[in-house]
Structures are given as structure tokens and as C-alpha cells.
Symmetry: C2
């Protein structure tokens, strides 16, 4: 049976599978190093909507539609939907997904939302509560700047430690072990286990340096995970954080060293994969709920499917701030969620 | 084993239990009809904080501390925490709960958050993923007015169909069947099943009439639940919605009649229980994540424990709007989550 491991970790005996996924991104992401890997690159960043929030909703709608299509399922065959985004009251999700009419668990974990949603979705499948569920998360550069910093028209300057919110939505269709057996379809990966993060606050107050705010939470999550599963960093082909960027990565390396771990050889960061900071002017890297979701979908899942990667720890990272908390002088606590993804020998 | 029922419902065979709960409210709630039932009534609505958001965080901290104390558990004995609130990026939760250091699943379902959190918490327990988890939700009149409408200093007028956001936080400590057996403690109620809601949008655009926006989602949830469980309204001692208020209740009755159900004899609404609209000037009733949470904790759970109520369907209702979506002329979609709560014959 399913197993509680250590503090906050689960190791699934009947592992659920990621059957299919989809990534829909904006123009800048399309011009980046992973440009050729995404399913859809928008012609402009409005995605047919009148405003930025509507554009983000369009992204979610497109990503879920595409993932369902690839998996050959109709919306009504999904028992539950786990979804969220960065905007206040997660409106990109509410307006993007309402037409699908799938029972919804709304999730908020800032940029860690993709990890939190995948965790809850896999618990739901492995617990026998569903055979088919879907996950959707998104972010949009323009809606996030408007929400957290300044309207784009203000043209404010950004320090080099700032990250660039990814315009993109990733969607995942997950199935239970039983459903996979019946469907006999190839899968992208298995979700072998999860580690659920706590809020970690090192007192960072600079909203232009999210990497520093989130690195302590990433460190806590990875160290807890390795202890809970009694593993070493080398037991993973990659340990992939969500959006720490170059500044956050350096802090993570140092914090991990203080905990007795060297992860420099296996660590990668979705935020550093998706943009070329030097040529694209994206500062320390990409960020946002969409960053880890589309990078997982377009870059890591294909490598897990092919067997190029056998096992990775996927760790989306979130910065728990709002414009109100920032303006009131509050710190920026971080949180992270860990997902163990493993290669599956497909029959075909 | 646990059983999938109909579309989006679950019927737990190893039912989890609500072991203890706590309610902490503001002065106005203390002066209302349920005033004598709450655990703590604040002396003023700032709860020792410098600002309204901080006050709401204090509410959450007090509620969880009290619920853990009643249950005789330390924070580190909780395997997971399910929590959320109404504020953008759910900052009342992030800052209120970070010091507990419990692995956190952040949830957003607007005012339905209490139902969504209880659903995920009971799935986690019944699935064998934890023996002890906690749930916290909150709202605060002043932080909600500032977030969704106008700062209090503006002193705007309110139509009679408007509801009054409850200042309060409810917290619940839930245990697995196995843990209850070992602990041999009296419990408040069992969670026999859940029904997870979809987003329902009838096109309401008036943010001063949340009852009308949420009633269609409540109707959809209740009708789906009754069909999924093959039950009639009379199979419940009460069907309790979260915060429809007088206007929303009337609409719910009519919509249910169109679906072939008469729930007028068994329906109650937490928003109509917590305030006396005539004498307290609270319009159509109370609302907010805190409304259903503190009313469940202070009013319904004691009646379930005593056996005065044998079985209720608890249906927190949420309005999925943000100030941005409202100002952009969007509709206000609704969502609802259903929890079946049953009396347990305690040994003592």
C-alpha cells in the first residue's frame, strides 16, 4: 500500500502516470533555447483576448484542450481538475477553465503551484479516488507585472537579479495504474512519490530578488526529501527547481553545502533553461507558475519518456508575496513542492 | 475500500473524523445570535496587528493554536495543513501559519475554501497518507472590503442584497479512523463523503449581490450530490450552505424546485445564522471563508456531537471574482464544495 515516508513525504506503491502533457507559450519563450520544444507558440501575447488576464485564461484553455486531445479524452472523462495561477483570487484559472465543467480543486502555491497540483492529483489517483485527472497552471508576464510590480506602460527598470515571468501554461493528464493498464497507451513518466513543503522565511524583502526568497524553501524541501527517502543527490539524474534563476541557484548550492549535500552536478533550474539571459535580457532567469510547468512538459518529460533521464526530482518553488504584503513591508516567505518522476518502459 | 460515486463524489469506507475545532471571531460576530458559542471573541478587530491583513493572520494563528490545544496535539504532529483565505495570493494564510512549520497545501476556493480544504484533508486521511491533519480558513471584514470594494475610510453605502464579510477563523483537527481508535478520544463528527463542485456561471455581474452569484453553484452541487448518493433532501437533518444570505437562499429554493427538489424544510445558511440582519445592519447575511468555518465549528459540530443532528450536508459556497475581473466587466462565477458530516456514538 501507499506509504508515509518521513515528514511530509509519500511513496506511492500503485504509482500514477503522466499520460500526456501540453505547453502553450508566448513569443519571447518561443524565441528562447527551448523554442522548438513547445507545442504552441502564440502569434502575439494577447492570445485573442482584450486584456492580459484574459490572455492568461486563453493560455490555460489552450493548454488543457491540447493535453486532453493528445490523451484522447473528453473533458467529461476527467474526474477532477487541479489548477491555479499567480493572480489575485486565481482569476486566470476561474475564467480559463469554467467552460470545461470539471469538478475543480483550486490551488494556490505561488510559482510552486504546478508541484502542489501534481502532488494532490497523484494522491487522488493512487488513493483510488479517480482514474483520470488533469492539472493546469499558468503565468503571463504582463498580467504578473501589473499584479505585482508596475503596469508595463510605466516601463520601470529591473535589476539583474530580477527574474522574468514566463508567459505560458502547462497542462498534464494523469491516470491511475489501473487506467493505464486498460488504456495500454504509452506514458510520459510515473510519479513515484512526493514531498510536501513548509513555508520557509529567511526575511528577504526584495521583490526584485525572488531567487533569494525561494532558495531556502528549495533547500529545505530537497534536504527533507533526501532524508525521507534515504537517498543521495546522485540517486537522481537531475534535481530540477522551478524558477530560482542564477542568483537563487548560487544561494541554493551554498545552503545545500551547509546541510552536507553537493547538488552542483545534478541541479538544473527551469528558469535558467527557458531563457538565454544574455541575449534575451531576462535577468536572472524565467519565473512564474508557467515556467516550471511548460519546461517540465516540453523539455523534461520527453527525456523521461525516451529514457535519457531515468529519475528526476522536480521542485517548483514559490514566493508567497502579494502587492499588499510587499507594500506593508512584509518579508517574502518561500515554499516548494517536490515530485519524483521516473522513466517507464513503454510497450510500443 | 473508498468508493467513487457518480460524478465528483466520494463515499469513504474508512471515514476520517473531525476530532476538534476552534472558532475565533471579531466583535460584531460576538454580538450576533451565535455570540455565546464561539471559543474566542476579540476585544477589537485588529487582534494585536498593525493592519487588517495582519489581523486576519492573527485570527488564523489563534484558531489553529486553539484547535491543536483542544485536541492535545503539537503542531509537529500534524502531517499536513490545508489552508486558504480570500486575500490576493492568500497572504493571511502565508503569514498566519508560517511559524507552525507544517507541510502546507495552499487552497483557493473563495468562500468555499473551508469545504475544499475539508475535502482534501479527508481524502488524505482516508487514503492512508496521514493520521493527523489540520484545516484553517479565515476572512476579515476590513481586509475583504479593502481587497474587493473600498477602504473602510471611504464609508461607501451598501445595498440590502449585499452580505457582510465575517471577521473570523475556523480551524479543524482531523484524524484517520486508525488514529481515532488508538487515541480513544471523543470526536465531533465523521466525514462520510464529499462532493466536489464545478464552476457555475449564470452571468451575474453585481459584486454587491454575491448570493445571486453563488446560488446556481450551490444548486448544482446539492443536486449532483443527491443524485450521486441516491438520496433525498429528507435524508439530511440539515443542508447547510456557506454564505448565500436571504437573497441567495430564495434563488436557491427556486433553482432546486426546477430540478425537482424541495429543500425549504432542511435548508439553513451560515450567513443567516451568524448575524441578525435587522438589528446588526448586515444586509442579506454574513459571508467570507470565515463565515461557514466558524459557524460549523461553533454551531453545527456541537449539535452533531450531541446527536441533535445525525447527518448534515455542509456546502460552503464561493464567488470567484477579483477586483481586477470585476473592473474589467467580467461575470462572477460560483463554486461550491459538499461535505457529508455524521454523528458518531462516542464511548464516553
Amino acid at each position: 500500500m501507499d506509504q508515509m515516508v518521513g515528514t511530509g513525504s509519500l511513496c506511492f506503491s500503485e504509482t500514477p502516470f503522466i499520460l500526456e502533457s501540453a505547453s502553450v507559450v508566448g513569443t519571447k519563450e518561443g524565441e528562447g533555447p527551448l523554442g522548438s520544444c513547445f507545442d504552441v507558440i502564440g502569434e502575439d501575447d494577447k492570445f485573442g483576448a482584450d486584456n492580459w488576464e484574459g490572455a492568461e485564461s486563453s493560455l490555460q484553455k489552450a493548454a488543457l484542450t491540447l493535453a486532453l486531445g493528445k490523451a484522447d479524452y473528453k473533458a467529461e472523462e476527467m474526474r477532477y481538475l487541479f489548477a491555479g495561477d499567480l493572480l489575485g483570487q486565481t482569476i486566470a484559472t476561474s475564467f480559463g477553465l469554467k467552460s470545461f465543467e470539471i469538478p475543480l480543486f483550486g490551488v494556490y502555491g505561488a510559482c510552486s503551484t504546478c508541484g502542489e497540483s501534481l502532488a494532490l492529483a497523484s494522491m487522488t489517483l493512487a488513493g483510488g479516488y479517480a482514474d483520470r485527472v488533469a492539472v493546469v497552471t499558468s503565468s503571463h508576464f504582463a498580467s504578473a507585472e501589473k499584479q505585482f510590480r508596475f503596469p508595463l506602460e510605466y516601463a520601470n527598470q529591473r535589476p539583474v537579479c530580477a527574474t522574468w515571468t514566463v508567459t505560458g501554461s502547462g497542462s498534464f493528464v494523469l491516470v491511475s495504474a489501473e487506467e493505464q493498464k486498460q488504456k495500454k497507451a504509452d506514458v510520459l513518466a510515473r510519479i513515484a512519490g512526493i514531498t510536501t513543503g513548509k513555508i520557509v522565511d529567511y526575511g528577504i524583502k526584495d521583490s526584485m530578488n525572488m531567487g533569494a526568497a525561494m532558495a531556502p524553501a528549495a533547500c529545505e524541501l530537497i534536504a527533507t526529501h533526501l532524508a525521507d527517502f534515504n537517498r543521495k543527490p546522485e540517486d537522481y539524474d537531475k534535481i530540477v527547481t522551478g524558477d530560482l534563476g542564477t542568483v537563487g541557484q548560487e544561494i541554493l548550492f551554498q545552503l545545500m553545502r551547509e546541510r552536507g549535500y553537493d547538488i552542483t552536478k545534478v541541479h538544473e533550474d527551469c528558469g535558467m533553461k527557458i531563457f538565454d539571459g544574455d541575449s534575451q535580457g531576462t535577468g536572472a532567469g524565467g519565473s512564474g507558475c508557467g515556467c516550471s510547468a511548460v519546461t517540465l512538459s516540453a523539455h523534461y518529460l520527453p527525456m523521461l519518456k525516451s529514457g535519457e533521464l531515468k529519475r528526476i526530482l522536480f521542485v517548483p518553488t514559490g514566493a508567497l508575496l502579494s502587492p499588499v504584503s510587499f507594500n506593508e513591508g512584509q518579508t517574502i516567505p518561500g515554499i516548494a513542492h517536490g515530485i519524483v518522476l521516473e522513466h517507464v518502459e513503454n510497450k510500443k
